[in-house]
């Protein structure tokens, strides 16, 4: 028993190391070998960066899948086909945002401000059209610039994905939702699609910084509902946020009582 656990940890450690080395190297190659030399000739810098991130992470998750034989990825077609949408998700693991980037060729999100202060990486995030969450960026005229930029990206077929809990949920509970994304949806006259993520926290456990490549479970993403522009227009944003949160809670409860162990 002890030996099995020991070997499992060693395997997980080695594969995790390999995966993160690929992850980091992939970004470095994208940025310094492919992107920077072509920078002056690029017309739509944000679109190019978003597509590059998407392809890189698609390969990353193909590798994760290959190296984790017991882990199945089940992303429903209606999630894969989302375009020009504002997507609201529950947040379980650091993998959630990069999994979403791997699904959509054009995508933007609201990123914690600390990432923008990382040298070079922060510059790339800005160039890719990601939006900083800091109060100074989301207040005053700068906020209108960001909202107009999001509107433009949605019109170009991109998706905005947001985790309205603001942080990862704990023990399957959904934290209170920030209202911001619902206000953005109203501003952009776009509906909100709700996507339930399951089991990413089992694949990459919070606090462990290690992939569980030996586990047997299904990582899934499912479209559980939506709010149309009219529904958003006719309700207060607090009511829309509450409605969306209740749906997530109900779906998680159903999954738990359904006994499939996937919640």
């Amino acid at each position: 028993m002890f030996l099995t656990r020991f070997f499992r940890r060693v395997i997980n450690f080695c594969l995790t190391l390999g995966l993160w080395v690929y992850f980091m190297l992939g970004y470095l190659v994208l940025m310094f070998v492919l992107f920077i030399p072509c920078y002056s000739r690029l017309k739509a810098v944000d679109a190019v960066l978003q597509k590059s991130f998407h392809l890189h992470l698609k390969v990353f998750f193909a590798l994760v899948n290959r190296l984790s034989p017991g882990v199945r990825f089940a992303v429903s077609e209606d999630v894969r086909n989302l375009r020009s949408s504002i997507i609201v998700c529950n947040h379980l693991s650091y993998l959630d945002p990069i999994l979403l980037v791997s699904l959509f060729p054009r995508q933007t999100t609201i990123v914690k401000n600390t990432f923008f202060s990382v040298p070079i990486f922060g510059w790339f995030l800005r160039k890719a059209g990601y939006v900083p969450s800091s109060p100074t960026e989301m207040y005053g005229p700068a906020m209108i610039n960001h909202l107009e930029d999001i509107k433009r990206q949605l019109a170009a077929g991109g998706n905005l994905f947001v985790f309205p809990e603001g942080t990862r949920g704990r023990r399957g509970r959904i934290a209170p939702f920030n209202r911001g994304v619902f206000s953005i949806a109203r501003y952009c006259s776009t509906g909100v699609k709700m996507v339930l993520i399951r089991n990413t926290e089992r694949l990459f456990r919070p606090g462990s910084f290690s992939f569980d490549t030996r586990g047997k479970f299904t990582v899934s993403m499912e479209l559980i509902g939506s709010l149309t522009p009219d529904q958003l227009k006719n309700a207060s944003i607090s009511a829309s946020a509450d409605q969306a949160r209740s749906l997530f809670e109900r779906k998680i409860r159903e999954a738990k009582t359904g006994g499939d162990g996937r919640a």
Binding site: M143, L147, E148
Partner: protein, 90 residues
């Protein structure tokens, strides 16, 4: 549209959408009622609905620095005046 009509409408919006009841005309809404940037965006959408016209990006940016009820009324009054002039020219 008179200033009184605008004030009445704005007060109604503040009460209905933000539960801000009878604010003093010059009180800072952010400090007194926690009126944040999300609320400001909502207020902008309400103003668009009230005026029956979409605001330009520059007009929206101007609104983001507003802090008091009086400033909101001035802003809407200025927009209404501007729209009226445009309509007359056309």
């Amino acid at each position: 549209m008179t200033r009184q009509e605008i004030e009445k409408e704005i007060r109604a919006v503040l009460l209905r959408e933000f539960e801000v009841e009878n604010p003093e005309p010059d009180v800072n809404l952010r400090e007194a009622y926690g009126f944040d940037s999300i609320d400001a965006i909502e207020l902008l959408l309400e103003i668009e609905r009230f005026l029956g016209t979409e605001l330009t990006q520059a007009e929206k940016k101007k609104a983001m620095d507003i802090r008091t009820l009086n400033q909101i009324i001035d802003y809407v009054e200025m927009l209404a005046h501007h729209r009226k002039n445009e309509a007359e020219k056309a």
